[in-house]
Protein backbone atom coordinates (compact mmCIF):
# COMPACT_ATOMS: atom_id res chain seq x y z
CA UNK A 1 0.00 0.00 0.00
CA UNK A 2 2.78 2.43 0.93
CA UNK A 3 4.51 1.74 -2.37
CA UNK A 4 1.80 3.63 -4.14
CA UNK A 5 2.35 7.38 -4.52
CA UNK A 6 -1.29 8.31 -4.20
CA UNK A 7 -1.64 6.26 -1.02
CA UNK A 8 1.35 7.91 0.64
CA UNK A 9 -0.16 11.27 -0.26
CA UNK A 10 -3.55 10.20 1.01
CA UNK A 11 -2.07 9.10 4.34
CA UNK A 12 -0.21 12.39 4.79
CA UNK A 13 -3.39 14.29 3.97
CA UNK A 14 -5.28 12.11 6.45
CA UNK A 15 -2.86 12.97 9.26
CA UNK A 16 -3.06 16.69 8.49
CA UNK A 17 -6.84 16.64 8.46
CA UNK A 18 -7.00 14.34 11.48
CA UNK A 19 -5.12 16.94 13.52
CA UNK A 20 -6.53 20.20 12.15
CA UNK A 21 -10.23 19.33 12.01
CA UNK A 22 -10.76 18.32 15.67
CA UNK A 23 -8.54 21.20 16.85
CA UNK A 24 -10.81 23.77 15.23
CA UNK A 25 -13.91 21.71 15.89
CA UNK A 26 -13.61 21.84 19.66
CA UNK A 27 -14.26 25.58 19.63
CA UNK A 28 -17.25 25.12 17.32
CA UNK A 29 -18.68 22.58 19.77
CA UNK A 30 -17.97 24.99 22.61
CA UNK A 31 -19.82 27.77 20.80
CA UNK A 32 -22.65 25.38 19.95
CA UNK A 33 -22.06 25.95 16.26
CA UNK A 34 -21.29 22.34 15.42
CA UNK A 35 -22.96 22.46 12.03
CA UNK A 36 -21.25 25.59 10.74
CA UNK A 37 -18.50 23.57 9.06
CA UNK A 38 -21.15 21.72 7.11
CA UNK A 39 -22.64 24.96 5.83
CA UNK A 40 -19.27 26.36 4.83
CA UNK A 41 -18.63 23.09 2.98
CA UNK A 42 -21.80 23.68 0.95
CA UNK A 43 -20.58 27.09 -0.13
CA UNK A 44 -17.11 25.72 -0.91
CA UNK A 45 -18.73 23.43 -3.50
CA UNK A 46 -19.87 26.52 -5.43
CA UNK A 47 -16.22 27.60 -5.34
CA UNK A 48 -14.99 24.23 -6.61
CA UNK A 49 -17.51 24.30 -9.47
CA UNK A 50 -16.57 27.86 -10.37
CA UNK A 51 -12.98 26.65 -10.61
CA UNK A 52 -13.96 23.84 -12.99
CA UNK A 53 -16.03 26.21 -15.11
CA UNK A 54 -13.38 28.91 -15.45
CA UNK A 55 -10.41 26.57 -15.62
CA UNK A 56 -8.74 27.96 -12.47
CA UNK A 57 -7.51 25.69 -9.68
CA UNK A 58 -10.59 24.49 -7.77
CA UNK A 59 -8.55 24.66 -4.57
CA UNK A 60 -8.09 28.40 -4.93
CA UNK A 61 -11.68 29.18 -5.84
CA UNK A 62 -12.99 26.89 -3.09
CA UNK A 63 -10.76 28.62 -0.56
CA UNK A 64 -12.05 32.02 -1.67
CA UNK A 65 -15.70 30.94 -1.44
CA UNK A 66 -15.24 29.19 1.91
CA UNK A 67 -13.37 32.04 3.56
CA UNK A 68 -15.98 34.52 2.34
CA UNK A 69 -18.72 32.26 3.72
CA UNK A 70 -16.88 31.89 7.03
CA UNK A 71 -16.57 35.63 7.46
CA UNK A 72 -20.22 36.10 6.41
CA UNK A 73 -21.37 33.61 9.07
CA UNK A 74 -19.75 35.73 11.78
CA UNK A 75 -21.13 38.99 10.47
CA UNK A 76 -24.64 37.53 10.22
CA UNK A 77 -24.33 36.29 13.79
CA UNK A 78 -23.11 39.70 14.92
CA UNK A 79 -26.09 41.45 13.35
CA UNK A 80 -28.38 39.80 15.85
CA UNK A 81 -30.56 36.78 16.12
CA UNK A 82 -33.63 37.62 14.05
CA UNK A 83 -33.35 36.45 10.49
CA UNK A 84 -29.76 35.30 10.99
CA UNK A 85 -30.76 31.67 10.90
CA UNK A 86 -32.65 32.14 7.64
CA UNK A 87 -29.80 34.12 6.12
CA UNK A 88 -27.45 31.21 6.86
CA UNK A 89 -29.90 28.74 5.27
CA UNK A 90 -30.12 30.85 2.10
CA UNK A 91 -26.34 31.07 1.89
CA UNK A 92 -25.65 27.38 2.55
CA UNK A 93 -28.32 25.91 0.27
CA UNK A 94 -27.63 28.56 -2.32
CA UNK A 95 -24.00 27.47 -2.25
CA UNK A 96 -24.55 23.78 -2.79
CA UNK A 97 -27.26 24.28 -5.43
CA UNK A 98 -25.07 26.70 -7.34
CA UNK A 99 -22.19 24.25 -7.05
CA UNK A 100 -24.15 21.37 -8.55
CA UNK A 101 -25.52 23.52 -11.39
CA UNK A 102 -22.14 25.06 -12.27
CA UNK A 103 -20.54 21.61 -12.17
CA UNK A 104 -23.12 20.33 -14.67
CA UNK A 105 -22.45 23.30 -16.95
CA UNK A 106 -18.68 22.94 -16.96
CA UNK A 107 -17.17 20.69 -19.65
CA UNK A 108 -14.82 18.91 -17.23
CA UNK A 109 -17.20 18.60 -14.29
CA UNK A 110 -18.34 14.98 -14.44
CA UNK A 111 -20.68 13.32 -11.92
CA UNK A 112 -17.67 11.30 -10.74
CA UNK A 113 -15.82 14.54 -9.97
CA UNK A 114 -18.82 15.83 -8.07
CA UNK A 115 -19.08 12.66 -5.96
CA UNK A 116 -15.35 12.80 -5.19
CA UNK A 117 -15.64 16.35 -3.88
CA UNK A 118 -18.79 15.59 -1.90
CA UNK A 119 -17.72 12.35 -0.20
CA UNK A 120 -13.95 12.27 -0.50
CA UNK A 121 -11.61 10.16 -2.57
CA UNK A 122 -8.14 8.70 -2.23
CA UNK A 123 -7.25 9.43 -5.82
CA UNK A 124 -7.69 13.15 -5.96
CA UNK A 125 -4.75 14.29 -3.85
CA UNK A 126 -1.95 15.33 -6.21
CA UNK A 127 1.50 16.10 -4.85
CA UNK A 128 1.14 19.77 -5.84
CA UNK A 129 -2.12 20.02 -3.91
CA UNK A 130 -0.55 18.20 -1.01
CA UNK A 131 2.10 20.88 -0.50
CA UNK A 132 -0.57 23.57 -0.45
CA UNK A 133 -2.71 21.45 1.92
CA UNK A 134 0.25 21.03 4.24
CA UNK A 135 0.97 24.75 4.30
CA UNK A 136 -2.68 25.59 4.99
CA UNK A 137 -3.04 22.87 7.63
CA UNK A 138 0.14 24.03 9.37
CA UNK A 139 -1.24 27.56 9.37
CA UNK A 140 -4.52 26.42 10.93
CA UNK A 141 -2.75 24.32 13.57
CA UNK A 142 -0.22 27.02 14.46
CA UNK A 143 -2.72 29.85 14.79
CA UNK A 144 -5.20 27.69 16.71
CA UNK A 145 -2.52 26.45 19.08
CA UNK A 146 -1.18 29.91 19.88
CA UNK A 147 -4.61 31.48 20.25
CA UNK A 148 -6.36 28.59 21.96
CA UNK A 149 -6.60 30.25 25.41
CA UNK A 150 -8.26 33.23 23.77
CA UNK A 151 -10.60 31.17 21.59
CA UNK A 152 -11.49 29.24 24.73
CA UNK A 153 -12.20 32.36 26.78
CA UNK A 154 -14.32 33.97 24.08
CA UNK A 155 -16.37 30.83 23.47
CA UNK A 156 -16.71 30.28 27.22
CA UNK A 157 -17.97 33.76 28.08
CA UNK A 158 -18.22 36.31 25.30
CA UNK A 159 -19.52 39.09 27.54
CA UNK A 160 -16.71 38.75 30.06
CA UNK A 161 -14.13 38.59 27.28
CA UNK A 162 -15.46 41.82 25.81
CA UNK A 163 -15.46 43.47 29.25
CA UNK A 164 -11.85 42.45 29.79
CA UNK A 165 -10.78 44.03 26.54
CA UNK A 166 -10.21 40.98 24.32
CA UNK A 167 -10.85 41.62 20.60
CA UNK A 168 -13.88 39.34 20.59
CA UNK A 169 -15.20 40.10 17.12
CA UNK A 170 -11.80 39.71 15.49
CA UNK A 171 -11.24 36.37 17.28
CA UNK A 172 -14.65 35.09 16.20
CA UNK A 173 -14.10 36.08 12.56
CA UNK A 174 -10.65 34.50 12.66
CA UNK A 175 -12.06 31.24 14.05
CA UNK A 176 -14.66 31.22 11.30
CA UNK A 177 -12.01 31.80 8.63
CA UNK A 178 -9.82 29.04 10.10
CA UNK A 179 -12.86 26.75 9.95
CA UNK A 180 -13.24 27.61 6.27
CA UNK A 181 -9.58 26.87 5.56
CA UNK A 182 -9.92 23.52 7.35
CA UNK A 183 -12.96 22.69 5.22
CA UNK A 184 -10.94 23.28 2.06
CA UNK A 185 -7.92 21.36 3.31
CA UNK A 186 -10.19 18.42 4.09
CA UNK A 187 -12.42 18.47 1.05
CA UNK A 188 -10.37 16.09 -1.05
CA UNK A 189 -9.96 13.28 1.40
CA UNK A 190 -13.11 13.69 3.52
CA UNK A 191 -15.48 15.41 1.12
CA UNK A 192 -17.43 18.62 1.54
CA UNK A 193 -20.59 16.97 2.86
CA UNK A 194 -18.74 15.03 5.56
CA UNK A 195 -15.94 17.31 6.74
CA UNK A 196 -17.99 18.71 9.59
CA UNK A 197 -18.22 15.18 11.00
CA UNK A 198 -14.44 14.99 11.50
CA UNK A 199 -14.48 18.38 13.24
CA UNK A 200 -17.20 17.31 15.66
CA UNK A 201 -17.21 13.52 16.24
CA UNK A 202 -13.65 13.20 17.66
CA UNK A 203 -14.58 15.98 20.07
CA UNK A 204 -17.72 14.18 21.13
CA UNK A 205 -15.50 11.19 21.95
CA UNK A 206 -12.84 13.43 23.52
CA UNK A 207 -15.47 14.87 25.87
CA UNK A 208 -16.15 11.36 27.14
CA UNK A 209 -12.47 10.69 27.80
CA UNK A 210 -11.02 14.02 28.95
CA UNK A 211 -11.62 15.65 32.33
CA UNK A 212 -10.55 19.12 31.24
CA UNK A 213 -10.58 21.25 28.12
CA UNK A 214 -6.90 20.58 27.47
CA UNK A 215 -7.39 16.83 27.84
CA UNK A 216 -10.44 16.94 25.58
CA UNK A 217 -8.40 18.52 22.78
CA UNK A 218 -5.57 16.02 23.17
CA UNK A 219 -7.96 13.08 22.99
CA UNK A 220 -9.87 14.60 20.08
CA UNK A 221 -6.72 15.09 18.03
CA UNK A 222 -5.47 11.57 18.80
CA UNK A 223 -8.83 10.12 17.83
CA UNK A 224 -9.02 12.31 14.72
CA UNK A 225 -5.64 11.05 13.47
CA UNK A 226 -6.51 7.45 14.35
CA UNK A 227 -9.85 7.58 12.52
CA UNK A 228 -8.35 9.28 9.47
CA UNK A 229 -5.57 6.68 9.16
CA UNK A 230 -7.81 3.66 9.79
CA UNK A 231 -10.43 5.12 7.44
CA UNK A 232 -7.97 5.72 4.60
CA UNK A 233 -6.49 2.23 4.95
CA UNK A 234 -9.90 0.59 5.05
CA UNK A 235 -11.00 2.66 2.09
CA UNK A 236 -7.96 1.42 0.12
CA UNK A 237 -8.62 -2.27 0.78
CA UNK A 238 -12.41 -2.14 0.64
CA UNK A 239 -12.61 0.24 -2.32
CA UNK A 240 -15.02 2.56 -0.50
CA UNK A 241 -15.07 6.40 -0.59
CA UNK A 242 -12.47 7.62 1.91
CA UNK A 243 -14.49 10.38 3.60
CA UNK A 244 -17.51 8.22 4.32
CA UNK A 245 -15.25 5.43 5.63
CA UNK A 246 -13.37 7.78 7.97
CA UNK A 247 -16.63 9.15 9.34
CA UNK A 248 -17.98 5.65 10.00
CA UNK A 249 -14.79 4.79 11.90
CA UNK A 250 -15.23 7.98 13.96
CA UNK A 251 -18.79 6.98 14.78
CA UNK A 252 -17.72 3.49 15.87
CA UNK A 253 -15.07 5.10 18.09
CA UNK A 254 -17.70 7.31 19.68
CA UNK A 255 -20.19 4.49 20.28
CA UNK A 256 -17.60 2.13 21.77
CA UNK A 257 -16.24 4.88 24.06
CA UNK A 258 -19.72 5.85 25.17
CA UNK A 259 -20.64 2.24 25.98
CA UNK A 260 -17.42 1.54 27.90
CA UNK A 261 -17.62 4.90 29.68
CA UNK A 262 -21.19 4.23 30.73
CA UNK A 263 -20.24 0.90 32.29
CA UNK A 264 -17.26 2.40 34.08
CA UNK A 265 -19.31 5.27 35.48
CA UNK A 266 -21.75 2.78 36.93
CA UNK A 267 -18.96 0.87 38.68
CA UNK A 268 -17.36 4.05 40.05
CA UNK A 269 -20.70 5.33 41.31
CA UNK A 270 -21.36 2.08 43.13
CA UNK A 271 -18.02 2.34 44.98
CA UNK A 272 -18.26 5.97 45.93
CA UNK A 273 -19.44 7.03 49.35
CA UNK A 274 -20.84 10.49 49.94
CA UNK A 275 -20.33 12.23 53.26
CA UNK A 276 -23.39 13.36 55.22
CA UNK A 277 -24.69 16.79 54.24
CA UNK A 278 -23.53 19.71 56.32
CA UNK A 279 -24.25 23.38 55.92
CA UNK A 280 -20.69 24.63 55.65
CA UNK A 281 -17.84 24.08 53.23
CA UNK A 282 -14.52 22.74 54.40
CA UNK A 283 -11.54 25.01 53.92
CA UNK A 284 -8.63 26.56 55.81
CA UNK A 285 -11.12 28.45 58.02
CA UNK A 286 -13.73 25.76 58.69
CA UNK A 287 -12.19 24.65 61.96
CA UNK A 288 -11.82 20.99 61.01
CA UNK A 289 -8.25 19.65 61.04
CA UNK A 290 -6.86 19.38 57.51
CA UNK A 291 -4.98 16.17 56.68
CA UNK A 292 -2.97 15.93 53.47
CA UNK A 293 -4.02 12.78 51.60
CA UNK A 294 -2.15 11.96 48.40
CA UNK A 295 -2.83 14.77 45.91
CA UNK A 296 -5.54 16.48 47.98
CA UNK A 297 -6.59 17.44 51.49
CA UNK A 298 -9.05 15.59 53.73
CA UNK A 299 -10.86 17.32 56.58
CA UNK A 300 -11.34 15.47 59.84
CA UNK A 301 -15.05 15.80 60.60
CA UNK A 302 -16.41 14.11 63.73
CA UNK A 303 -13.77 11.37 63.49
CA UNK A 304 -14.06 10.65 59.78
CA UNK A 305 -12.47 12.18 56.72
CA UNK A 306 -14.17 14.37 54.11
CA UNK A 307 -12.64 15.15 50.72
CA UNK A 308 -13.88 17.47 47.96
CA UNK A 309 -15.59 15.70 45.09
CA UNK A 310 -17.65 17.60 42.49
CA UNK A 311 -20.09 19.82 44.40
CA UNK A 312 -20.15 17.67 47.54
CA UNK A 313 -17.81 15.92 50.01
CA UNK A 314 -16.81 12.25 49.94
CA UNK A 315 -16.07 9.96 52.85
CA UNK A 316 -12.45 8.84 52.69
CA UNK A 317 -11.20 5.79 54.50
CA UNK A 318 -8.22 5.79 56.90
CA UNK A 319 -4.55 5.88 55.99
CA UNK A 320 -4.37 2.10 56.28
CA UNK A 321 -6.13 1.52 52.97
CA UNK A 322 -4.97 4.77 51.49
CA UNK A 323 -3.66 3.42 48.18
CA UNK A 324 -6.70 1.33 47.58
CA UNK A 325 -8.90 4.35 48.17
CA UNK A 326 -7.01 6.51 45.75
CA UNK A 327 -7.17 3.98 42.99
CA UNK A 328 -10.64 2.71 43.46
CA UNK A 329 -13.11 5.04 45.03
CA UNK A 330 -11.85 8.46 44.40
CA UNK A 331 -10.61 9.92 41.19
Amino acid sequence: MLALDFMRQALVAAVLVGIAAPMIGVFLVQRQMSLIGDGIGHVALAGVAAGFLTGTMPLVTALTAAVAAGAAVEFIRLRGRTGGDLALAVMFYGGIALGVVLMALSPTGTPANLTAYLFGSLLTTSSGDLVLFAVLAALVMGVTWVLRPRFFAVAQDEEYSRASGLPVTALNVLLSVLTAVTVVVSMRIIGLLLISALMILPNATGQLLGRSFAATIRWAVAIGVFCALVGVTTSFYAGTPSGATIVLVAIVCFLVTAAVGGLRARVVRAQHERAERHLHEHGPACGHPAVPHGDHVDYLHDGHRHAAHADHWDEHADHADHTHVDEGVHR
Binding site: V26, Q30, Q156, Y160, A163, G165, L166, G210, G283
Partner: protein, 253 residues
Amino acid sequence: MSTPLIAARAVSFGYDDRVVVDRLDLSVGVGEVVALLGPNGSGKSTLVKGLFGLVPRLGGTIEVEGKVGDASTHHARIGYVPQRHSLAQSVRSTVSEVVAAGRLPHRPWWQPATRSDRDLVARAIEAVGLSDRAHAEVSTLSGGQQRRVLIARALAGQPALLVMDEPTAGVDHASQVVLTEVLGRLAASGTAMLVVTHELDVLADVVTRIVCLDAGHIDFDGSPGAYAAHLADADHPHVHAGHHHDDDSTGGR
Protein backbone atom coordinates in the same frame (compact mmCIF):
# COMPACT_ATOMS: atom_id res chain seq x y z
CA MET B 1 -9.09 62.90 48.08
CA SER B 2 -7.23 60.57 45.77
CA THR B 3 -8.28 60.03 42.17
CA PRO B 4 -11.33 57.75 42.04
CA LEU B 5 -10.79 54.26 40.63
CA ILE B 6 -13.70 54.85 38.30
CA ALA B 7 -15.62 58.04 37.72
CA ALA B 8 -18.67 58.29 35.49
CA ARG B 9 -19.89 61.81 34.77
CA ALA B 10 -23.34 62.51 33.33
CA VAL B 11 -23.32 59.10 31.66
CA SER B 12 -26.34 57.82 29.77
CA PHE B 13 -26.60 54.21 28.66
CA GLY B 14 -29.30 52.57 26.61
CA TYR B 15 -30.34 51.24 23.25
CA ASP B 16 -31.44 52.98 20.05
CA ASP B 17 -34.77 54.29 21.26
CA ARG B 18 -34.56 53.76 24.99
CA VAL B 19 -32.44 55.53 27.57
CA VAL B 20 -32.06 53.23 30.59
CA VAL B 21 -29.50 55.16 32.62
CA ASP B 22 -29.93 58.90 32.31
CA ARG B 23 -27.11 61.43 32.93
CA LEU B 24 -25.87 59.80 36.08
CA ASP B 25 -22.78 60.58 38.15
CA LEU B 26 -21.07 57.84 40.06
CA SER B 27 -17.54 57.32 41.27
CA VAL B 28 -15.90 54.68 43.40
CA GLY B 29 -12.76 55.48 45.34
CA VAL B 30 -9.93 53.42 46.80
CA GLY B 31 -11.07 51.15 49.63
CA GLU B 32 -14.77 51.73 49.07
CA VAL B 33 -17.29 48.89 48.99
CA VAL B 34 -20.38 50.25 47.31
CA ALA B 35 -23.68 48.39 47.24
CA LEU B 36 -25.78 49.34 44.23
CA LEU B 37 -29.43 48.81 45.11
CA GLY B 38 -32.64 49.42 43.23
CA PRO B 39 -35.77 47.74 41.95
CA ASN B 40 -35.65 45.44 38.95
CA GLY B 41 -35.54 47.54 35.80
CA SER B 42 -34.00 50.53 37.56
CA GLY B 43 -30.89 50.28 35.43
CA LYS B 44 -28.36 48.68 37.81
CA SER B 45 -27.14 46.03 35.38
CA THR B 46 -27.26 48.44 32.45
CA LEU B 47 -25.09 50.87 34.41
CA VAL B 48 -22.56 48.18 35.26
CA LYS B 49 -22.47 46.82 31.71
CA GLY B 50 -22.24 50.35 30.40
CA LEU B 51 -19.15 50.99 32.50
CA PHE B 52 -17.53 48.06 30.64
CA GLY B 53 -18.71 49.22 27.22
CA LEU B 54 -21.18 46.33 26.91
CA VAL B 55 -24.16 48.68 26.47
CA PRO B 56 -23.96 51.65 24.09
CA ARG B 57 -23.02 54.89 25.82
CA LEU B 58 -25.34 57.69 24.74
CA GLY B 59 -23.54 60.48 26.53
CA GLY B 60 -21.21 61.50 29.34
CA THR B 61 -17.65 60.47 30.14
CA ILE B 62 -15.97 57.65 32.01
CA GLU B 63 -12.53 57.84 33.55
CA VAL B 64 -10.54 55.05 35.12
CA GLU B 65 -7.99 56.37 37.61
CA GLY B 66 -8.18 59.73 35.89
CA LYS B 67 -7.67 58.33 32.39
CA VAL B 68 -10.47 58.64 29.85
CA GLY B 69 -11.98 55.37 28.59
CA ASP B 70 -14.38 52.76 29.84
CA ALA B 71 -13.49 49.82 32.02
CA SER B 72 -12.85 47.50 29.08
CA THR B 73 -10.04 49.75 27.80
CA HIS B 74 -8.51 49.86 31.28
CA HIS B 75 -9.28 46.21 31.91
CA ALA B 76 -6.11 45.62 33.88
CA ARG B 77 -7.45 47.74 36.75
CA ILE B 78 -11.08 46.68 36.89
CA GLY B 79 -12.41 43.13 37.21
CA TYR B 80 -15.89 42.15 36.05
CA VAL B 81 -18.05 39.44 37.61
CA PRO B 82 -21.07 39.10 35.31
CA GLN B 83 -24.47 37.96 36.44
CA ARG B 84 -24.64 34.26 35.65
CA HIS B 85 -26.57 31.44 37.15
CA SER B 86 -24.14 28.93 35.74
CA LEU B 87 -21.14 28.77 33.46
CA ALA B 88 -21.29 27.68 29.83
CA GLN B 89 -20.83 23.91 29.78
CA SER B 90 -20.92 22.86 26.17
CA VAL B 91 -17.43 21.40 26.61
CA ARG B 92 -15.61 20.13 29.65
CA SER B 93 -13.47 22.67 31.44
CA THR B 94 -11.90 22.85 34.87
CA VAL B 95 -12.00 25.61 37.47
CA SER B 96 -8.34 26.47 36.70
CA GLU B 97 -9.02 26.68 32.97
CA VAL B 98 -11.92 29.09 33.43
CA VAL B 99 -10.07 31.23 35.97
CA ALA B 100 -6.99 31.38 33.70
CA ALA B 101 -9.04 33.49 31.28
CA GLY B 102 -8.68 36.31 33.81
CA ARG B 103 -4.95 36.53 32.97
CA LEU B 104 -5.35 36.77 29.18
CA PRO B 105 -5.70 40.55 28.91
CA HIS B 106 -2.43 40.91 30.82
CA ARG B 107 -0.17 39.34 28.24
CA PRO B 108 0.34 39.68 24.50
CA TRP B 109 -1.64 37.30 22.25
CA TRP B 110 1.36 35.21 21.29
CA GLN B 111 2.63 34.60 24.80
CA PRO B 112 1.78 31.39 26.65
CA ALA B 113 0.90 31.47 30.35
CA THR B 114 3.95 32.09 32.53
CA ARG B 115 4.68 30.70 35.97
CA SER B 116 3.49 33.94 37.54
CA ASP B 117 0.21 33.68 35.58
CA ARG B 118 -0.30 30.20 36.99
CA ASP B 119 0.55 31.34 40.52
CA LEU B 120 -1.95 34.20 40.32
CA VAL B 121 -4.62 31.79 39.06
CA ALA B 122 -3.93 29.42 41.96
CA ARG B 123 -4.04 32.30 44.43
CA ALA B 124 -7.33 33.61 43.03
CA ILE B 125 -8.84 30.14 43.38
CA GLU B 126 -7.56 29.95 46.92
CA ALA B 127 -9.05 33.36 47.71
CA VAL B 128 -12.54 32.08 46.92
CA GLY B 129 -11.99 28.85 48.86
CA LEU B 130 -11.97 26.47 45.90
CA SER B 131 -8.39 25.17 46.06
CA ASP B 132 -9.73 21.69 46.77
CA ARG B 133 -11.63 21.84 43.51
CA ALA B 134 -9.13 23.64 41.25
CA HIS B 135 -9.06 20.71 38.85
CA ALA B 136 -12.73 19.80 39.13
CA GLU B 137 -14.94 20.29 36.12
CA VAL B 138 -17.05 23.39 36.52
CA SER B 139 -20.18 21.51 35.44
CA THR B 140 -19.97 19.35 38.58
CA LEU B 141 -19.99 22.36 40.92
CA SER B 142 -23.01 23.88 42.64
CA GLY B 143 -24.41 27.25 41.61
CA GLY B 144 -22.71 29.05 44.50
CA GLN B 145 -19.36 27.42 43.73
CA GLN B 146 -19.68 28.49 40.10
CA ARG B 147 -20.25 32.11 41.21
CA ARG B 148 -17.02 31.89 43.16
CA VAL B 149 -15.26 30.64 40.03
CA LEU B 150 -16.41 33.83 38.27
CA ILE B 151 -15.10 35.95 41.15
CA ALA B 152 -11.77 34.10 41.03
CA ARG B 153 -11.55 34.73 37.28
CA ALA B 154 -11.89 38.48 37.89
CA LEU B 155 -9.42 38.32 40.81
CA ALA B 156 -6.80 36.59 38.69
CA GLY B 157 -6.41 39.90 36.86
CA GLN B 158 -5.43 41.58 40.17
CA PRO B 159 -7.97 44.37 39.82
CA ALA B 160 -8.01 47.47 42.01
CA LEU B 161 -11.80 47.50 41.68
CA LEU B 162 -14.09 44.52 41.40
CA VAL B 163 -17.49 45.12 39.79
CA MET B 164 -20.02 42.38 40.56
CA ASP B 165 -23.52 41.95 39.22
CA GLU B 166 -25.67 40.14 41.79
CA PRO B 167 -23.05 37.70 43.06
CA THR B 168 -25.33 36.35 45.81
CA ALA B 169 -28.64 36.03 43.96
CA GLY B 170 -30.16 32.58 43.83
CA VAL B 171 -27.38 30.96 45.87
CA ASP B 172 -28.07 28.56 48.75
CA HIS B 173 -27.33 29.53 52.34
CA ALA B 174 -24.01 27.66 52.71
CA SER B 175 -22.65 29.29 49.57
CA GLN B 176 -23.93 32.69 50.64
CA VAL B 177 -22.01 32.37 53.89
CA VAL B 178 -18.85 31.51 51.98
CA LEU B 179 -19.42 34.36 49.51
CA THR B 180 -19.81 36.81 52.39
CA GLU B 181 -16.53 35.57 53.87
CA VAL B 182 -14.82 35.89 50.49
CA LEU B 183 -16.05 39.45 49.97
CA GLY B 184 -15.08 40.32 53.55
CA ARG B 185 -11.52 39.06 53.00
CA LEU B 186 -11.24 40.98 49.74
CA ALA B 187 -12.47 44.18 51.37
CA ALA B 188 -9.99 43.68 54.21
CA SER B 189 -7.17 43.27 51.70
CA GLY B 190 -8.06 46.63 50.17
CA THR B 191 -9.93 45.63 46.99
CA ALA B 192 -12.58 48.21 46.22
CA MET B 193 -15.95 46.81 45.12
CA LEU B 194 -19.08 47.90 43.36
CA VAL B 195 -21.72 45.26 44.00
CA VAL B 196 -25.15 45.16 42.40
CA THR B 197 -27.40 43.35 44.84
CA HIS B 198 -30.87 42.77 46.17
CA GLU B 199 -29.52 41.21 49.33
CA LEU B 200 -27.95 43.95 51.40
CA ASP B 201 -28.06 41.82 54.57
CA VAL B 202 -25.53 39.39 53.15
CA LEU B 203 -23.07 42.23 52.53
CA ALA B 204 -23.96 44.41 55.52
CA ASP B 205 -20.60 43.86 57.24
CA VAL B 206 -18.44 44.95 54.33
CA VAL B 207 -20.43 47.73 52.65
CA THR B 208 -19.10 51.25 53.25
CA ARG B 209 -21.52 53.12 51.02
CA ILE B 210 -24.94 52.57 49.50
CA VAL B 211 -26.19 53.88 46.18
CA CYS B 212 -29.85 53.45 45.24
CA LEU B 213 -31.00 53.61 41.65
CA ASP B 214 -34.53 54.23 40.55
CA ALA B 215 -35.66 54.60 36.94
CA GLY B 216 -32.15 55.32 35.72
CA HIS B 217 -31.41 58.00 38.35
CA ILE B 218 -29.64 57.91 41.70
CA ASP B 219 -32.13 58.52 44.48
CA PHE B 220 -29.86 57.84 47.43
CA ASP B 221 -26.08 57.93 47.88
CA GLY B 222 -24.59 57.75 51.34
CA SER B 223 -23.34 55.68 54.25
CA PRO B 224 -25.20 52.59 55.51
CA GLY B 225 -26.19 54.58 58.61
CA ALA B 226 -27.67 57.37 56.51
CA TYR B 227 -29.45 54.77 54.41
CA ALA B 228 -31.16 53.30 57.47
CA ALA B 229 -32.28 56.79 58.45
CA HIS B 230 -33.43 57.42 54.89
CA LEU B 231 -35.54 54.26 55.02
CA ALA B 232 -37.02 55.23 58.37
CA ASP B 233 -37.85 58.82 57.28
CA ALA B 234 -39.30 58.28 53.93
CA ASP B 235 -42.69 56.73 53.62
CA HIS B 236 -43.30 56.63 49.92
CA PRO B 237 -44.29 53.14 48.81
CA HIS B 238 -41.09 51.73 47.37
CA VAL B 239 -38.90 52.73 50.29
CA HIS B 240 -41.56 51.59 52.69
CA ALA B 241 -41.56 48.19 51.06
CA GLY B 242 -37.81 48.01 51.69
CA HIS B 243 -35.13 46.55 49.49
CA HIS B 244 -36.32 43.00 50.00
CA HIS B 245 -39.50 43.65 48.09
CA ASP B 246 -38.24 45.69 45.20
CA ASP B 247 -40.11 43.57 42.72
CA ASP B 248 -43.46 44.17 44.38
CA SER B 249 -42.90 47.88 44.61
CA THR B 250 -42.15 48.32 40.90
CA GLY B 251 -44.89 45.96 39.88
CA GLY B 252 -47.42 47.77 42.01
CA ARG B 253 -47.02 51.12 40.36
